[in-house]
């Protein structure tokens, strides 16, 4: 099974109206080459699941600026004024959720769990409309898993079968999102032969990866 793909082959998996997970933290560890290609193609009405909407000229922020996003589920939009502007104008739906909750919602989807039960957000607006449960005298929110049609992630190294190694603080949501989408596309800074990576230090096993694209240097 050949997973090596061109950028065009990879983004052909992403249709208008799909739900897309995009990894990264303020652009660090985000697949910039894939995002640039989606911007150029103009895929629209996307629902994006991400940690933050980065900056207007970086990462996920570019999709927002180009008005390709109808809904974003995220923990922070403060570094991209355009997200706030579109939200205030009613052009985009923004669901703000705690960062640790999003991480676990993605993990839960990938791990086949039915919900995340978390104390974070109790007594705040995050609780509104959600089920709660009391366990051993403490109240928790029940948060549903988050899945996507496609996840696009960024790795430092990929072997040709899709084993991945990440670099420094560019790990963040990448290994989580690799488990929680129907199609997972990795943009790797370096693609190596099978066997070149030490099996003891693989972050994401190849079974999660569908397509491998050679990336630039991550913005």
């Amino acid at each position: 099974m050949n997973k090596l793909s061109t950028v065009d082959q990879a983004i052909a998996k992403i249709d208008d109206g799909m739900t897309l997970m995009i990894a990264g933290f303020l652009g660090c560890g985000t697949p910039e080459t894939l995002i640039d290609a989606i911007v150029e193609k103009g895929t629209k009405d996307l629902t994006i699941i991400c940690n933050d909407t980065a900056f207007p000229d970086k990462g996920i922020g570019k999709l927002i600026v180009n008005k390709q996003v109808k809904k974003v589920i995220t923990s922070h939009i403060g570094t991209n004024p355009e997200t706030g502007r579109q939200m205030n104008e009613g052009e985009i739906e923004v669901v703000l959720s705690p960062q640790g909750t999003i991480a676990e919602q993605v993990r839960a989807a990938g791990a086949g769990l039915g919900a995340v039960v978390t104390p974070t957000g109790v007594g705040t607006v995050v609780e509104e409309g959600k089920q709660t449960i009391e366990i051993k005298g403490r109240k928790y929110l029940i948060e549903e898993p988050l899945r996507a049609d496609v996840a696009i992630i960024n790795a430092h190294q990929a072997d040709k079968k899709g084993n991945l190694v990440y670099n420094m603080s560019a790990v963040n949501f990448n290994p989580l999102m690799a488990t929680a989408a129907d199609t997972v596309i990795v943009e790797a800074e370096e693609i190596v032969e099978v066997g070149d990576l030490n099996p003891n230090f693989i972050h994401t096993p190849h079974i999660f990866i569908d397509m491998i694209v050679k990336g630039g240097q991550n913005g």
């Binding site: 933290f25 923990s75 703000l96 960062q99 109790v122 705040t124 995050v126 670099n167």
Partner: protein, 218 residues
């Protein structure tokens, strides 16, 4: 006091809360400065919620590493003891009670330890990022902030902005003093001798209980 002196007083005092071996998360802005004032005789490990422990100071110009940033997206360095991990592990540390202390700013904080620091409806909605998890999970929550916002009070009887969490704050450190959140309300335990107790109460909506062992914070 000028802005620089205000920040120095707050950061210096917050750093005294740390114990040898503590794992600490510092918020963006003023809390970040606290790292510069940790006493030399204790070993404190800093966590960055984007996914590592062992965070060091900002790099020299030209030494920035593309894949090494703090939770504000700024370039940082790491110590030899550093370890990187994904966001699930990061929030296992944060939410799971493995963090000894979190230091963050506030828009409002109140006498019950409620904290509001993530949005002003209709004006500013940056999002909560990791703040809700940090204050829910950390063993000690320290609010480090200027006592007022351009003259308007921030330490209230009850917060009126959307909350970050309910009843989580342990200590408030400002340039005017140190307040502990207790069942009875806010107890002023230390004060900056540049101000009188009356000065401090005048810019604090919540009624301050004066600690019987009240001392100077500097």
């Amino acid at each position: 006091m000028d802005k620089h002196e205000i920040r120095r007083v707050i950061a210096t005092r917050v750093a005294k809360e740390f114990k040898d071996g503590d794992l600490v998360n510092l918020g963006i802005g003023l809390p970040t400065l606290v790292a510069n004032y940790v006493p030399g005789n204790i070993d404190v490990t800093f966590q960055s919620e984007n996914g590592f422990i062992g965070m060091g100071p900002a790099p020299e110009e030209g030494q920035e590493i593309k894949n090494l940033t703090n939770a504000g997206g700024q370039p940082v360095t790491i110590l030899d003891s550093a370890a990187f991990f994904d966001s699930s592990m990061s929030f296992t540390i944060i939410r799971g009670g493995h963090l000894d202390c979190t230091v963050l700013g506030a828009l409002q904080v109140d006498a019950k330890g409620n904290l509001a620091n993530w949005m002003i409806p209709g004006k500013k909605v940056p999002g909560m990022g990791g703040a809700m998890d940090l204050v829910t999970g950390a063993k000690k929550v320290i609010v480090a902030m200027e006592h007022t916002a351009r003259g308007s009070v921030k330490i209230l009887t009850e917060c009126n902005l959307p909350l970050t969490a309910v009843g989580v704050v342990d200590i408030i450190v400002t340039e005017m003093g140190v307040m502990k959140v207790t069942d009875k309300g806010l107890v002023l335990t230390e004060y900056n001798p540049q101000f009188t107790i009356e000065d401090i109460q005048a810019v604090t909506e919540a009624t301050l209980i004066i600690d019987e062992n009240l001392k100077e914070m500097i």
